[in-house]
Symmetry: C3
Subunit: 387 residues, 3 copies
């Protein structure tokens, strides 16, 4: 229980009969000193398939985040000073879930709305579409196309003026799934970090299986020819045969490349003494980068999605910690990557984004990662799953 005085503002709450279409809160509105750079806007989008979508634009210090409560509290992108973290998907609309049919085209409908820096995959299942145990699993699960309730902003009124944005997302089906996800995003004006802390509550009296992948995606300007990926791990292997041919340069980023399509690599990451694993994508000059860190206890594996195709096609690299890899669930049981959540219990997922725009920060991150890599990472030519 924090005793720090807080400003609390509800954007959407069924219980409170509240659902704002637009809002604008300044530091003063939040009871803060006027020179604290904290501001929050809510906007409802119109036109095309973004009709009814909402975007919360949150300014905290030198960071501006765009969060989409109608898409499970996704982070559309983050800007720190002039540097944008996120990517340019060919999907330019913030598509409202009512226009998404995840079952379309063999379970690929999720791709009709995919354009976020942080898209959550899960939680009954994640990964590729296909039949598993007589049920059709659609790509990356259902959570991302679910609007949030209980969307609340909390601003601590004392230094470091922590700003927290919460939202609850339900994933429920009578007799099979009774999940409520409490998402929480927080940051302070002075730190270069965005913290994600999600709590998955299984309200059922029964145990259930679950999967989660945090699909974090980054394009230009950090991603460029000569950009490199740094992660400490015991092993990296190609997702499939196509990726095998790119294994030797799995962490070296090319310029936008026609017909590259995507190569996916499965990493078994190492964690530091606090149980955190880290991956760094830094630009060619080494003076800007994105560090993704995550609590390895619930997110033990890492998918690297190297989609360095043309700019129009989506030039992007995914750094995706998960309970599981991106295979269909049926392939992951024997890998031990279909965990169980007990009845009436919770699981917590923690992801942190380090938004580095100075060489010193980038170097420190890389040094930290290098220090974890005591013996060389094994590059295995063999995909974990034969598709």
């Amino acid at each position: 229980m924090s005793t720090t005085p807080e400003f609390r503002f509800t954007f959407t709450s069924h219980a409170q009969h509240t659902d704002l279409s637009s809002a604008h809160l300044t530091a003063e509105d939040m009871g803060l000193p006027a020179d604290i750079a904290i501001e929050c806007k809510l906007q409802t989008l119109r036109g095309g398939k973004q009709q009814g979508s909402k975007v919360i634009t949150l300014t905290v210090g030198d960071k501006v985040l765009r969060v989409v409560p109608t898409r499970a509290m996704a982070i559309l992108d983050v800007t720190r000073d002039a540097l944008r973290y996120g990517w340019d998907s060919p999907i330019t609309e913030v598509v409202h879930p009512s226009f998404i049919n995840q079952e379309a085209s063999g379970g690929l409908g999720w791709l009709d709305g995919f354009n976020e820096m942080l898209a959550r995959c899960g939680y009954q299942w994640a990964g590729h579409p296909g039949e598993d145990r007589e049920q059709m699993l659609t790509l990356h699960g259902r959570i991302q196309n679910t609007p949030a309730d209980d969307v609340v902003l909390i601003v601590e009124q004392e230094p470091p003026y922590r700003v927290t944005l919460k939202g609850r997302v339900d994933e429920k089906r009578f007799k099979s799934t009774n999940f409520e996800l409490e998402t929480e995003l927080s940051l302070t004006p002075d730190e270069p970090y965005v913290h994600i802390k999600d709590t998955l509550n299984n309200l059922s009296s029964y145990d259930n299986t679950f999967q989660a992948i945090y699909h974090n995606n980054f394009g230009t300007p950090i991603l460029e020819q000569g950009a490199t990926l740094h992660v400490a791990g015991t092993q990296v292997s190609p997702f499939n045969d196509y990726a095998t041919q790119g294994l030797h340069e799995w962490n070296q980023m090319p310029a936008p490349t026609e017909d590259f399509d995507e190569m996916v690599f499965n990493v078994l990451p190492l964690a530091d003494e606090d149980g955190m694993s880290h991956a760094l994508l830094k630009n060619a000059a080494g003076d800007a980068g994105i560090e993704v860190s995550w609590a390895s206890n619930t997110l033990p594996v890492l998918t690297i999605w190297k989609n360095t195709d043309t700019l129009e096609q989506g030039y992007v690299v995914g750094i995706e910690p998960g309970t599981s890899f991106a295979y269909n669930r049926k392939h992951q049981r024997h890998l031990g990557l279909v965990p169980t959540i007990r009845g009436k219990s919770s699981k917590t997922f923690q992801v942190r984004f380090g938004l580095f725009n100075e060489r010193a920060d980038v170097d420190a991150s890389q040094a930290k990662i290098d220090a974890l890599q005591l013996t060389p990472m094994l590059l295995s030519n063999n995909p974990l799953v034969q598709l």
Copy 2:
């Protein structure tokens, strides 16, 4: 044609360019004496997947109904004095149809929104999902995930001050289905009954088949250990092999039971001289109960859905009169349970709920049912359909 003066109020009407987001009508607003306990509110829900859902809360005497026009005029629940009729589904949101994909997971998407006391199944088909005649039928048909138009409240201004709530729900597909359903719910301040009278209009010039199941569901406090079900019939049989083992106590209700899942029983009910069949679920003490009565001419069979699992999983019993049982349509043709509706003709379905909170009413209901059972009901061990 009634000559009773009426108050009439339109909540939603395309033709009248009317669609209210909220409303509150008192007895005086309706031109009634102020001491008549009739009141009506309309509310639009917000947040999560209930964005845009509407709920009409109708107070008539000691009864309070919550009706969902955006879900085919479903009855969410009814309270009489302190006693609630309905159940606690793990689905806590009143889910808007735009967030339901009935085709999901092999046709189970209907379960993402299921939480009503009265959910209609139909009308092109009802029952379990699966292929029939090269068409995928989704669970329980399409009507329940269809918003109503022409939502109108009518209040008679003379005793017994009958209150009627109507709504029209279309189920149409070019070349295959041209149904319009006129739903009608009515009650008076002094009677313990809620009357449902639905008219299915086949606007096509061609005959069509149809199915309907009135999925009426009741949990605590009426449902409890020692609660009993009373229905007069010629035969009861288990829906499947699992239910066979519970046939001997099909009408005896246990406490919430882990791993009970559901047992379903198919009943061939008897009707009284007015053509009405009756089922009574009464609590252990016998001083409260729910009586479901229905016109057997169009709803000849009865499904008992005994889902006495844990409270979190949904502790509930369904008393479901229908044209058909809950099997997929393909299994019901040879049972004669896929009826025909002629072109340009109508079928009427009548269901009545008796909300009894006194022992005398419960006893009278049970006596009425017992009197119909002149010879013992046959308990057949053999499911009507071998799945």
Copy 3:
């Protein structure tokens, strides 16, 4: 670049944060002389499955068009003086896309909303549902169930006072489709024509295949017993075996006919010296008709959909120029009817409706068509595709 002064009005634009629920613009509002018969209304529909649908009613001279921006800028119908062009579908609602599941019932969900005079089919695929290259293609493609953005009215302020209504519709799926369709509809007060000019932009860096069918549909009063269809072509053939029996009278229209269902005919049309092909449906008296003209370079083939069933079932004839016939895409590759759109390039589709209510216009249209038919059209008994 036109130098004509223009009035420009935006109904919906994400970029401009504009989305009107209703609007009414008179000639004077548009800066026109008050005696110019130009007027425009926007209305948002309510109730049932048309909740949130928008209709723009555009009066230009003696013509009144109803356009549906929420359904890809479809034309619901056109009235010229007392004569209505369009048809009476059993689907009476203007269904909002959020209530359509195109995957339903084996890909037939499109039929739940089909009632327009002009419905676009495309653009990744058009035609009948079914698997093609391991992807399920739903009936008639995705575009029609997509709301438009950038909906703009433009009115030239000098004679002939051309009125143009534009809207942009996206059809996108990450990695597979990156289409934006710019639709444009225009007409003048004094001419009997409505011009459609659509531009399909492939924003991808890669080539893609596409298909388009302009599903133009006409019922009473033009369609009646004795109405005739006139089109110049090299060949007409039945779509399937059932249509073979009606080939000899493929262009003669019967009264509404029970159990007629539909006969579909595939026409290879001739074009005039301007590259335009024409089809005329005229009434029995020959004093009213609808002429459909189209640029044959991008729409080389013509489907005639003779659905002269009962009035309740939908008494209607489709005159449907396309890149392709109505077969599933898999059947059209060997016919050369699955064209390619190059990366970062565009295709333009032009369709013109001639709304004729005088014998002279009808006769002139027929004479123009007859003049193109230098040698008799071949009536082939063999469907192009054996289904």
